[in-house]
Amino acid sequence: MAAAYLAIALLALALSAAAYRLSTLRRELAIAVRERDEKRTSLARTSKLLIEKNMEMFDRNVRQQKQLESKEDFVGIVSHQLRTPATEVKWGIEALEGELRGKKQSEHATEYLEKLRKSAERMVRLIDSLVRLMAVDEQYRRLSIAPYDPDEVVVHVAEEVAKTFEGAKKLHLAVTKGGTIDSMDSDSLELVAENLIENAFTYTPEGGSVTVSTERTPDGCYSFTVKDTGVGIPKEKQKMVFVKFQRSETAMRMNSGGMGLGLYLVKNIVERQGGQVSFESQEGVGSVFRVVLPAKRRLT
């Protein structure tokens, strides 16, 4: 009889212990489930955040691409819209000259036509400069520039500009070959070189000369210099050279036609792309303009 009670008591104890263990296990399970649920929620939240960030980046890329495209379109549209009436004026003048050729005219007709023609030419050149400036500004925002030989660009520009002056003024080249650069894109370099070299030729009287030299500096920069034997810049105007394009009386007399980008914009382009431009000038002797560019691109 006592053994049966003992057996039942033991069983009860075992059951009770088991029940206790079960309830502990159940509690631990509940905790584990709660932790798992929390982790799952946190994971879901992180996933959602990542997806949102991806979408943002994607949107930003699309927007940037659209801006780039619409800027390109903008440049294309502006270029076309400006050039259409300029073309009509220019061609109209040629046609008018043709109509009047060989016919008796009022004394002023020829003179007026000539003035019109020159103005039309100047307008076309200004539009060209503006379009190139817009295109260059756009290109700089692109991601990377493939390294290229800057001497090729500078020499090509010098030779082309010299050609347009048909040998009345001599071009001398002093090129010291060196490595490639990627600090300034070649279109910008072309624009800057063209502006400086054209100025040099324009303000140098016939029989004079322009020397374009290039070199690499000891600290790895690329530098090119444009030296002319021209009218020079009067001392009192020198500090205004880059602030505003001002021309002395002599210069204005010499250059009735062209008007390039202006040294202000040259300075702007060069400095924005990490370089420096400087000059020395003496009235009646000539000027020397120097551009220095880092070899590697610096994001300024």
């Binding site: 300029a86 073309t87 009509e88 220019k90 109209g92 046609a95």
Partner: protein, 131 residues
């Protein structure tokens, strides 16, 4: 009467004034000129007869000058029509595309005059004769 035209030219240009000035100069120099004021008209003309040379403006009402060239390719008719681009749009990307499509030359209207354009046409015909 003998046919003394130096060659046939199709001019595709939407601006009436510019068109009339080129047509006049071309005719003065002895060319037989057909005109089209857009791509659609050009296709119609090209459907009946192929010119020796096409002067092609890029910005046209309807489809562009480049699209016209593409359509001609698709149609595959009579080989390629030689063409010179006359354009006033910003250069570099258009010049490249023109070259890829096989343009004989690319002239910027604002930087040329009708005389310049017709002189270029003369040169093209002269080169063709000697080749």
């Amino acid at each position: 009467m003998t046919d003394t035209t130096k060659g046939t030219v199709l001019l595709v240009e939407d601006d009436e004034f510019l068109r009339s000035l080129i047509v006049r100069k071309l005719a003065e120099r002895g060319y037989a000129v057909t005109i089209a004021k857009d791509g659609e008209e050009a296709l119609t003309h090209l459907g009946s007869a192929l010119p020796d040379l096409m002067l092609l403006d890029l910005v046209l009402p309807g489809f562009s000058g480049f699209e016209l060239v593409a359509k001609l390719r698709e149609q595959g008719k009579g080989g390629r029509v030689p063409f010179i681009v006359l354009s006033n749009s910003a250069e570099s990307q258009n010049r490249q595309q023109a070259e890829e499509l096989g343009a004989a030359d690319y002239l910027v209207k604002a930087q040329s005059t009708p005389s310049d354009i017709v002189t270029r046409v003369d040169t093209w015909f002269a080169e063709r004769r000697t080749s």
